[in-house]
């Protein structure tokens, strides 16, 4: 009993300590830095100014933000549309098949995602695997220009982030009580209507968490756009990195980062609100 209690306490203290040191404190530092000013001597001088946020409000920075949001939105939509059918097949498959499929979803995580992104260049470039196969089959005469296009960035992000959509959807669909579906059909709902009015609302928590897990990282994964997109578009992730490493404008980078965090927080809040509303409607 007492050793059990000790173990429990050790785990909790460990986890809380870890989060405090490596998540909470750094975030507080970034938050404070966003109110500072730059100097040539040090990276940052303490201050209490909102100038950095004001600087973020110009046309160029808003363009960067909108471009990033649009790209992440597209990637999220594609992930959702492909992952949903897959997750329902997964949830209905027999146990051995399901385990194999789940394993296949997880296997890519065994390789670093940066390495997988470089591997995609070997697939997509002019003398790459896809073009060679298509040309030897006689389907095309000249190599398709697939590398360094916005499409390649969307493909790369979708590929990298798809498992983050599949897993929460699978969890939601697997828990779905099939009897609701039968009841809907018995009461005369068409399959489409039953899906739309019963399955989708009941799996909404899975849909929302999947979308969060895809949308937010897609904004930050600047290396995919650098490697596959030819670094042509400045995205929010690139912008923040450049402020810290290249132009050494830490306060501006911190302000951009805080804005992004606030945006994420706002979206979580909306989700909780809507989940609470759904909960009330259900009861």
């Amino acid at each position: 009993m007492s050793s059990d209690g000790f173990f429990k306490r050790a785990v909790i203290i460990g986890a809380v300590g870890w989060m405090t040191v490596f998540a909470f404190v750094p975030n507080i530092l970034v938050f404070l830095a966003s109110f500072g000013t730059t100097s040539t001597e040090n990276f940052i001088e303490p201050a209490a100014t909102l100038r950095n946020y004001a600087r973020l409000m110009d046309r160029t920075h808003l363009d960067i933000l909108l471009g990033s949001l649009r790209l992440s939105g597209l990637v999220t939509a594609i992930c959702l549309l492909t992952a949903y059918p897959f997750a329902s097949i997964l949830a209905r498959a027999r146990k051995p098949v399901r385990n194999i499929l789940l394993l296949l979803v997880v296997i890519p995580f065994w390789t670093n995602s940066l390495v997988r992104t470089y591997a995609m260049t070997a697939m997509l470039n002019s003398s790459g695997i896809v073009n060679n196969v298509l040309m030897s089959l006689g389907l095309i005469d000249a190599p398709l220009a697939m590398m360094y296009t916005p499409g390649a960035v969307v493909l790369g992000l979708t590929y990298t982030l798809l498992p983050f959509m599949i897993l929460p959807l699978y969890a939601a669909l697997e828990r779905l009580d099939r009897r609701y579906l039968e009841a809907a059909r018995d009461l005369g709902a068409s399959p489409w209507r039953a899906f739309w009015r019963v399955v989708v609302p009941l799996t909404m928590p899975g849909i929302v968490s999947g979308c969060m897990l895809v949308f937010l990282p897609a904004i930050g994964m600047f290396y995919v756009s650098d490697v596959l997109g030819g670094a042509k578009a400045m995205l929010l992730g690139n912008f923040i990195r450049d402020q810290f490493l290249t132009t050494r404008d830490w306060p501006l980078g911190a302000a951009a980062s805080v804005t992004l965090t606030a945006l994420m927080g706002l979206m979580l809040l909306l989700y909780w609100k809507s989940a609470a509303r759904l909960g009330r409607e259900a009861s």
């Binding site: 940066l114 260049t121 042509k232």
Partner: protein
């Protein structure tokens, strides 16, 4: 991209560096030193070399400043950053009495204003910016100047460095200004000129631009001479020109950070790199110019006379060294952001 992994790795390594003695932590440009040089050095001296890499002086400077100039024993900044880091006390003096091969260096590259008497730095390699072209493409084959890159036929076939000064320098040179122009109006003029070129760019890359050239993704690339040298070695169709308007030159220098842990080993390694046969080998492998006169003599004829590795004097005359911009850098940054978001 690569930087992200390296950032994490180098932070891990930096924490271990303090405990070791038979080790040497080198922070170098990517694709700038053959692995076999490190292996041979370890075989001979027993000193294990751990190398991490960066792809811009800015990244190196930010990192060294952040870790308070410890964790690394040897870094390789370009001239303008040597002077900045020296002034900010991030470097420590190099003991020349420990460098028996220092005399091999070209006196013309020593004792420059960025580091008088070479108190803090020893030249490693120097090089230049060139335009590499794939001669199979008729539109690219006729390129002789930066201005030619604006030709509409080259739309979607161009690679530029993912580097603010590299790209702005092209615009400034086309207008006949200095690479180090400090007048914001002139920088703005260069920016306007560059704007339409952005639509022709297929990819920005300073990490390994030769790849896009070798994969036939682009037909013309603005890159460093060493990259062009390796690419032309792998594909004979790849030629090069020193742009008519002028181009940038740089010297990268071996320096020891102020709070390095393995100072003795760093000196041993610098002296090793200054050996004629080692410097000559690196020069042949990487295709950049060696400041080591004794090494140049041992180079094979075809490397010594290769205009990519050692530009002819009439080409050299158009080269210009990049210097620290000071506050003028703001105008450059503003333009770079605009170019990247249009």
């Amino acid at each position: 991209m690569k930087r992200l992994v390296l950032l994490v790795l180098s932070l891990l390594l930096a924490s271990q560096a303090l405990a070791a003695s038979k080790e040497l932590y080198v922070y170098n440009w990517s694709e700038y030193m053959p692995d076999s040089v490190l292996e041979d050095f370890t075989k001979e001296t027993g000193i294990k070399v751990v190398m991490s890499t960066y792809d811009s002086n800015e990244a190196l400077y930010a990192k060294i400043k952040m870790v308070d100039a410890k964790g690394y024993d040897l870094v390789v900044p370009s001239t303008d950053f040597v002077s900045r880091m020296r002034k900010e006390g991030l470097l420590q003096p190099i003991d020349k009495s420990k460098l028996s091969n220092f005399g091999n260096l070209d006196p013309k590259l020593l004792n420059q204003s960025f580091d008088p008497e070479n108190t803090y730095s020893v030249p490693y390699m120097w090089g230049s910016t060139v335009i590499a072209i794939n001669a199979k493409d008729p539109d690219a084959a006729s390129i002789t100047s930066f201005a030619d890159l604006w030709k509409p036929e080259l739309k979607g076939k161009i690679l530029l460095p993912n580097d603010m000064r590299g790209v702005l320098g092209m615009g400034l040179k086309r207008l006949g200004y200095s690479l180090n122009e400090s007048d914001p109006a002139k920088v703005g003029q260069a920016c306007e000129l560059l704007m339409p070129l952005m639509a022709s760019v297929r990819v920005f890359d300073s990490d390994s631009p030769k790849q896009a050239l070798l994969n036939n993704e682009v037909m013309a690339a603005v890159l460093w001479n060493g990259e062009a040298y390796i690419a032309s070695g792998e594909n004979a169709d790849i030629k090069f020109v020193y742009p008519k308007e002028g181009f940038s030159l740089w010297v990268d220098n071996l320096c020891i950070p102020k709070n390095a842990a393995n100072v003795e080993n760093a000196h041993i390694f610098i002296d090793y790199l200054l050996r004629p046969e080692v410097a000559a080998f690196i020069c042949q492998e990487m295709g950049y110019s060696s400041p080591n006169l004794a090494a140049k003599e041992t180079l094979p004829e075809e490397v010594r006379t290769n205009a990519l590795v050692y530009p002819a004097p009439e080409d050299m005359a158009r080269g210009e060294f990049e210097t620290d911009l000071g506050q003028a850098v703001k105008a450059y940054e503003e333009c770079w952001m605009k170019l990247k978001t249009e």
